[in-house]
Symmetry: D2
Subunit: 359 residues, 4 copies
């Protein structure tokens, strides 16, 4: 077998050309600046070659009898920057809001005719946690992300994944370094949360350590492979260590990439957990960008999701009694409520009765 000379421009090529070409240091061309909530996201660099490939993918004009999502078509294949070197690209999709309605009407037959509009039906389905109609839409992303984020992400098991294999190929020389405003101290109240921002000299030191160790371990990765990231051999007399072994020397902030495909229901589950304020900032950054694609893809579902999943409060049987007592004037106290302290305080905060919280 021989090396392929001319192949059609596919995003597969786009991937393989990442290897050897792009170093951490040469990230100087960004394709798109991205502002979100006044936070300036760091630059993601794509080579001229990659930009060309994306443009070629986007230039496709195929005629189909399938339903399309016009707003999503506009950003198809585009690399949306996330963190310092990551991105999210929508690569393919199937169905739109009407597909959910179609499936629900198959299930309920004439029964659904009473719900007068598609929008009303989707809201109804979301509010009552009907799940199967939302499984009738599918989406596929191409994502570049740090390995420690990938390790959280992969826990969502109901998705299809093809990850770049470091057994086969050499990983890019790209690492995540937090921006300074994201360098937070360990929270003192929450075992898994972040507390105050770390500033000044200590912040500089931390960033310095992260950068130094990433560079050092990558340089030693090259040494063990006996090959530089640009493909040049280091020592002609040596063999290179097997890739599947050498990779173990890399740090968890090294970037990897994958194709990730899931149905709409499981995408909503992913987003409700990972766009939540308790999620680690670094995965939330991805979820935020993906919510934008959700909005373009299925705008009615997006609205219902924001109302009935993201903004929802779950109140336990005991909590409901407390609210009832406030409404009828009997005003149960914390002591008599049967609630734990944390649950009581969460409820008071949600009800904007901050003066009733206790310590």
């Amino acid at each position: 077998m021989v090396e392929v000379v001319g192949t059609a421009p596919t995003s597969a090529m786009f991937i393989t050309k990442f290897v050897y070409r792009h170093s951490w240091k040469s990230n100087i061309y960004n394709i798109k600046l991205y502002f979100k909530d006044s936070i300036y996201l760091l630059e993601m660099a794509l080579s001229e070659q990659q930009k060309k490939e994306i443009l070629e993918q986007q230039a496709q004009k195929n005629i189909t009898r399938r339903v399309i999502s016009p707003e999503l078509e506009k950003i198809l294949y585009e690399a949306q920057p996330v963190l310092d070197h990551g991105f999210v690209r929508v690569i393919d999709y199937m169905g739109d809001d009407s597909s959910i309605v179609q499936a629900a009407r198959v299930s309920y037959g004439k029964g659904t005719k009473k719900v007068s509009t598609d929008s009303g039906l989707i809201k109804y389905l979301m509010r009552h946690r009907h799940s199967t109609p939302f499984e009738m839409c599918e989406i596929k992303y191409h994502v570049k992300l740090p390995i420690f984020v990938a390790r959280q992400w992969i826990r969502h098991r109901t998705a299809n994944v093809n990850e770049y294999s470091a057994r086969y190929s050499i990983l890019d020389k790209e690492f995540y370094l937090p921006s300074k405003e994201n360098l937070a101290a360990q929270s003192t109240s929450n075992r898994q949360g972040r507390g105050e921002t770390i500033n000044g000299k200590q912040a500089d030191n931390i960033l310095e350590l992260l950068k130094k160790d990433a560079e050092q371990t990558y340089a030693d990765y090259e040494l063990m492979l006996n090959e530089k990231y640009d493909g040049t051999k280091i020592n002609e007399n040596n063999k290179g260590l097997a890739r599947e072994l050498a990779r173990m020397n890399l740090t968890l902030n090294t970037y990897t990439q994958w194709y990730w495909k899931t149905d709409l229901l499981n995408l909503l589950n992913f987003l409700s957990l990972r766009a939540d304020s308790h999620a680690q900032y670094e995965i939330r950054a991805y979820a935020d960008v993906m919510i934008e694609s959700l909005k373009k893809w299925v705008p009615i579902t997006y609205e219902a999701f924001m109302d009935y999943r993201i903004g929802v409060l779950e109140i336990s049987a005991k909590g409901l009694k407390v609210i009832g007592s406030f409404l009828n004037g009997t005003n149960i106290s914390y002591k008599d409520s049967g609630l734990g302290k944390r649950e009581w305080n969460e409820l008071m905060t949600k009800l904007k009765l901050n003066n009733k919280t206790i310590k």
Copy 2:
């Protein structure tokens, strides 16, 4: 809320109009005759209204940047007849052969460049049972099928399903009656198989029983609902029994329908089990029609599937020793092979050494 007056033509409408309109007796217009292996499939009837709706769906011409599968586009939405009143329609799909290649190249990076063609790569993946690249394509079917077939089908858990609900709506008056050549006696050698065909008077009697009982139980279903299949009330002074209860009186050959969506890998698993000669004829009839859609959708994958999944023989360690002994002339006997009788005979048959089978 009020009844919807004008709604866009979707296949959802197509479904709801089945109700009340189509009786078992009036199946006189078929949209397409279908010949397979010289077996003339029975007629499936669609109303003028349904034919119109399918035509409207097929008239869509949308422009997309996604990849398309030209041959599959041609039969999109079309109702392929199966059994006497069933059908299979491809409603939507995502990806084509190139999507598998794309995903594999993401995983293996530069490593896959050595496989010179897309076709070679897909064959390689199929032969070595690589699974995840095949998960990157998705397809959605609309299927009308007898309940006893649906009960086998639903055991494939890695799919998304929206079934017509008999809690909400009244089931069509349509039942599966086998054609005479499919009326087989219980096999005497295989506990789950069919033996000789049943002919003559006994066959007539059996078909008569099936028809009579289906008609009787459906008539009583209407009586309990206090409503005929065409929506007319039976006794103005009576209430109708709840649909979720009345349905229990129907027989297992009553037709139901669903939207069924799965990824390509799981479709291949489904087809390899259900198009197999050990599968019950009635579900095999569906699998056969779906294999035709597979061929149109992903022709390269279809070829690899036929070679490396459908036509494959698994030989155990002991069986391999037997073949080795035949090739080197030592000719192990059944007695010394360590194989069970059934396994020995299966192997000899596959090797076309029928004179070596034992009783």
Copy 3:
């Protein structure tokens, strides 16, 4: 191969002996009367042989280093009656409340030490919808249930199932007939619900129809098989129709049975949907009995489940604003709430502000 003469008493034997032995008419011995909420459940009949087998299973005394659940051990293998001929038996289990705690502490390490008790930790996990620790326990049921109930049940895909196969064997002559108080009319307000009870002559007629059709279709099933339920041949000159075909003549209230195994998390999901008041009564009857086994198995989890899953109210962002306005005295009206009518009324009802509901 020959028929097995002596085999150890396993519940497998228990199953196979159901066949041929037990007719719908001979259900005269029940092993246990069961009262629930003052509803007297109908009798389930087991033969002397079956009772003996259950007793043998229960007589096992094995010594294990695994954790055990003492209360669940007491009812292991016992057939809990459900509906008229159904039952639920716990056959095996793995883990108890401490297994959830163990798994959570593995995940959170030293972090979980701050939660002072196992009970506190399980409540915390349930309230915050932590899922994976609950997956560490597993349970296996043997269930006898009508086919139309089995069709709802099987939609829970994350479980393992082995169902009695009517391709291999002949189904028991047992059918579900609702008790009179469960004969409800179709609801006029809810497309999938039940309304008022149907009484008097009409109820008698309905039960008569259900019984007659079940008996008739079963008798014809025997005719087609050319074999009675007790194994006697009907016509020595005829072949029997293949079982996989004959079964299609049976009605959906015929009983089937299966082994059903799932982890605790998915059991809770199943129970929260199927013990809900919107679930069909017939599957709710099973869920109710299974909740009893949950309580015996993992009593702490049971408590947390009742508080934070069963008794919970989900309030949308808009609904929360309404409650806030009631608490601070601004009293938003329905019109200004942004809620739909149905959602408004549900909220008022839950808050016991019935005077505020609108029509």
Copy 4:
């Protein structure tokens, strides 16, 4: 809330005590030497405290009516060493060989009686790839493994996992260093394989690099956390970086641990892929130890698995024709076979016709 003073000995405690106590350098006590195929596995160290906890777990003697697996009971909770610091412990299980038989007999009813023995039935099920009966058994492992191995392992989605969280707690100072005989060069013929062993000076250099980088990045992890692995604070005036951030500085050979629970069918799938010669050595080392536990747990299934899954050869339709031609003397040549070169050579090798392989 306060710190727990006295808690019962559970394996949860066992875990949390790993933290702070055990350094990479102090691995001097091993609990068990383990020889496999004349390869001396490196030492795994457990503290006196951990050994005591395992002994306490093993001292449990509970009486149960469930089936037990006597050989598996003997090694329950025991830490089987894998690689240099990893281990596999069986923590819990459900069912044994008889549970598979029981489930199969439920499905097939009287039909299975013809297979005269349990062993015959299990072999039959395995050979014909019947899957659901094997899902009726469940096992739970506690595993300590390097992160790069965990990343391969987690791709098996049909399992339940609770992993030690580095968001909550600080990771142990333990890293995987390959033994010298496992330091292999990249294969020249196989993109993902290993070639010749690397020896001498180059091997020393590689091990030196791996060790140095692991120590350096861990030391900087401590610096960023402002806390040593033994819990002492480093600089009283500094805050520690959030754990969820600091962890990104660790290398992929750092050890993590998890509880991993799966059913027998999916365990077999895992083992057939990961004990295969194409699997990376480091995960194969785990699979090998787990196969030992399989053998103790379900000895009949183990035998069938070795015969019909591990030792099996899949022959394509074209390959079968080649064998046929050899047996009947027509001897098809490579050129006329329709096989690719690699497939031809694989077949000839399996048939021990090495003289027929081509270049």
